[in-house]
Amino acid sequence: MIYQTVIGLEVHLQLSTKTKAFCGCIIDFGRAPNTCVCPICLGFPGTLPVYNKEALNSAIKVALAFNCQIQEHTKFDRKNYFYPDLPKNYQISQYDLPLSRNGYLYIYRDNKPKRIGITRIHLEEDAGKLIHEDGQSLVDFNRAGIPLIEIVSEPDLFSPQEAFDYLTNLKSIIEYLDVSDCDMEKGSLRCDANISLRKAGSLELGVKTELKNMNSFKGVKDALSFEVGRQAELLDRGGDMVQETRLWDAEKGVTVSMRTKEGAKDYRYFPDPDLTRFHINQDMIERLRLKLPELPQEKLQRFMKEYSLSEYDAKILVSSKEDARFSEECIRIYPGKDKKLMVNWLIGPLLSEANSRKVKISELNITNDELISLIGFVERGEISGLSAKGVLSQMIDSGKSARELIIESNLLQVSDTEELSKIIESVILENTKSVDDFRSGKTNALMFLVGQVMKKSSGKANPKIVGQLLSRRLTDA
């Protein structure tokens, strides 16, 4: 039986504001338990919430970046349930008037774009952390109250790979906005998946399974792959699919059922009377839209166009916000007329260095100015391109400047025509046979003569110029 996989993803993102959603406690990962808490985020009786302006701005920026319609009138609702990591036993969230709806982002396969719908992006607060021990559970409320946004995708993803691509693109866009760490390991990005299978060609959705406990994008992909297999096998057997939540066990590579829910949860949502309504007007939206940085896709297109790069090459440069910034800055301050030369250095030698050191281009121990200085030596013919690569490596290792290293290693090429001509004359005199060979049409002989000049100059002659001079000299005489 052929099945179509249908996947929807729910991503929770912690916003990287300085303080929590509803109080001024700072957000700081890894702090000792209950050191970033106050009566408000602890939900002490009598306390009241006031929402963080920066969190709202960040959330609107995300909504704009994903092409969502921003709700003009939005409000907070209480989601009521009991759990020890929830100080008030309700979460301040949004129910029927979320901040934004109907957005999308693109994923690409074989250069073909596929639009993935985003149902909604809404605001909520995070809960505390529980540690389970023998016979008891320990609660740390440092995380309680951190502002979250929840991004819900339409069930438009049709394979675990598409889900992976969606997450990768989502993360890269959010990183560009600089509103969240997007770090699954630190928990600032969390993802739950909903997956169902249906007979190929059917329009009805199958019974969905909720997957939790994936700790990396790969984990999401693996968990979904496992589920596709498990569900297909079950359906083939004629078994009944029951709506349930399953946890991914990364070690064993399987999903395990949580206890079946005793019916749907009743969260008794109602508008939170402690918070006002919010009117998001066009002015506010436009002001924030202006603050949006150029997003990855736009930057990619622009790099391809402006610098005549292939998509492959352009992708390398925009792969991360820092790399894009570094590259763009290099290109911007490069004094030469042909920017392509700078670009070639970035996607060539610099990328090599980055890869061999397993870091990003922008993380290499070299500044834009230093790089440009090195390139200058090559452009002026003062060192050969080959030597320059070696110097680059040394610059990164030692932190020394191009000039220092070139002088130290005695790499300065001789490009002075007068000086070179002298050497050329002596080489011609010493290699009459090759000269005759060249004059009689054996172009290889030129290479040999260039080689002799290089030898006589202890490798310092600029081979290109030598070639030109030799060629002219021999054809003229």
Binding site: L42, F44, G46, T47, R78, S137, D274
Partner: protein, 472 residues
């Protein structure tokens, strides 16, 4: 003595602040075992040094209801489930009072548990008795505050009002009680009952005191999203003793069956007094009055069911013994909450639950709009509304305790005010044959507390009711 009288003497030095405190302690020693206006008296420790700050309020002690957070002083809402809770922070109104030089009295005032009640019989510390008749209730839920002020166990006090909890006990105890406009006074630090209805307000011996205390606690608070950023006028300037030409509306729906005949006649005489003082009095209509109590009991209990979910034994208060979490939650809340609290939580949870939300909660919110519109219409043509505070005088202890619905109906004249968010004041205006106080309620448009003080003060200064004290 009233606060303003004491302030004069404190400023001149003829009375020392310590003497004021001592007098209160002595009075409490003498009568509170009969009245039970204050709680946890056994844990009482005298204030080490009376704060000699100058400030507007010259170290005058203010009695605070047990649901207003006072740092370092237990705040338990008179509930077993908050036993031992000592807040590590204080309510904004407390900070404001301290800044103005007031002393926070070290004993808290009794109340119905979590403000659920109209008689102060739902306290885990036992009921408060009405100083006018110890066999009667003082009203609720701020019964302790009202009784203390009436019995001179307090100079003045803070209460909270969600459906009448300041005004009704003020009326039962023959003192002044004001509920400010919703948003006038910060709720930060008030342990919430119904977030869209609660307000903190003064309970005092006369209107001038109410004006001073309201002034001191009012104002915008950035810690409360529902507090309004509007200047606080000088309320003392409203004490003009002149209501000539003011248009007073008398709601006809308030004078129907169920009202005690003595209360009716006392109120009628009070209204006549307003006429003789120059006000023009006319009948008005608040057509949705009969829906106020049902709407209130849906909205207030729904909000309360959510606000009280945090009382679960995890971080503070009472925790029942158990070896698993769910059992702990259920037993803690079963053992820690009193009957009325449980009843309201169940009712509120029901009103919000799946399948009932539209028919109850959502519908109630819509009717609330209609109730507010009733008042908007009247205030477009009238300066204020005059009405009884309660349909009956103080009833006997135990009389309504087993009939919740009957208890709820005693809020009938006060509840609409909270639903509409407008301010209202109750002032003493007479007595029944049994010498039980009757309260006159004045209501005004949003942020028009000045009108309340003006009308109430004029009435008060032209009558003697506020000077009559109980024999206790």
């Amino acid at each position: 003595m009233t606060a303003h009288e004491l302030l004069v003497r404190l400023k001149s030095g003829s009375v020392a602040s310590e003497a004021v405190q001592e007098a209160l302690y002595a009075r409490i020693e003498k009568v509170d075992s009969k009245i039970n206006a204050y709680v946890r008296r056994a844990d009482f420790r005298k204030n080490d040094a009376v704060n000699k700050k100058q400030g507007l309020l010259f170290s005058l002690p203010v009695t605070v209801k047990d649901n207003i957070c006072t740092e370092g002083l237990n705040t338990e809402c008179c509930s077993k489930i908050l036993a031992g809770f000592c807040p590590p922070y204080e309510a904004t109104v407390i900070s404001k009072l301290k800044k103005a030089g007031a002393e926070i009295f070290p004993l808290k005032a009794n109340m119905d548990e979590f403000a659920f009640g109209s008689s102060t019989e739902n306290s885990c510390f036992g009921p408060t008795h009405n100083p006018w008749n110890l066999g009667c209730v003082p009203g609720g839920s701020s019964g302790g505050s009202a009784a203390a002020v009436a019995a001179d166990e307090a100079i003045w006090a803070l209460g909270s009002d969600t459906g009448g909890s300041i005004r009704q006990p003020a009326s039962f105890c023959g003192v002044v009680g004001l509920k400010p406009t919703y948003g006038r006074v910060s709720r930060f630090g008030l342990i919430a009952f119904a977030s869209s209805l609660d307000q903190i307000g003064p309970i005092t011996k006369d209107v001038e005191d109410a004006a001073i205390l309201t002034q001191a606690i009012s104002g915008y608070d950035p810690n409360d999203s529902t507090s309004v950023d509007q200047d606080v006028p000088d309320y003392l300037k409203s004490l003009t003793k002149d209501i000539k030409g003011l248009r007073v509306g008398i709601p006809k729906e308030y004078f129907v069956e169920g009202m005690d005949s003595e209360v009716k006649s006392v109120i009628e005489q009070a209204v006549n007094k307003l006429k003789t003082l120059g006000a023009s009095v006319k009948e008005v209509s608040l057509p949705h009055t009969e829906y106020a109590v049902p709407v209130y009991y849906i909205i207030a209990t729904a909000e309360a069911s959510s606000n009280l979910a945090r009382f679960d034994g995890v971080q503070y208060g009472y925790r029942a013994k158990s070896d698993n979490l769910i059992e702990m939650y259920k037993r803690t809340r079963a053992e820690g909450f009193g009957d009325e609290a449980k009843r309201r939580i169940i009712l509120g949870t029901f009103a919000l639950s799946h399948g009932y939300y539209d028919a109850y909660y959502l519908r109630a919110l819509k009717v609330r709009t209609l109730i507010k519109q009733d008042f908007d219409r009247v205030f477009a043509e009238f300066d204020c509304i005059a009405a009884p505070t309660s349909p009956t005088p103080a009833f006997k202890l135990g009389e309504r305790a087993s009939e919740p619905l009957k208890m709820y109906l005693s809020d009938i004249y006060t509840i609409s005010v909270n639903l509409a968010g407008i301010p209202a004041i109750s002032i003493p205006c007479g007595f029944t044959k049994d010498k039980l106080p009757v309260g006159l309620q004045i209501m005004a448009g949003s942020f028009n507390e000045e009108m309340l003080f003006r009308v109430a003060h004029t009435f008060e200064q032209n009558t003697e009711w506020h000077k009559i004290k109980s024999s206790l």
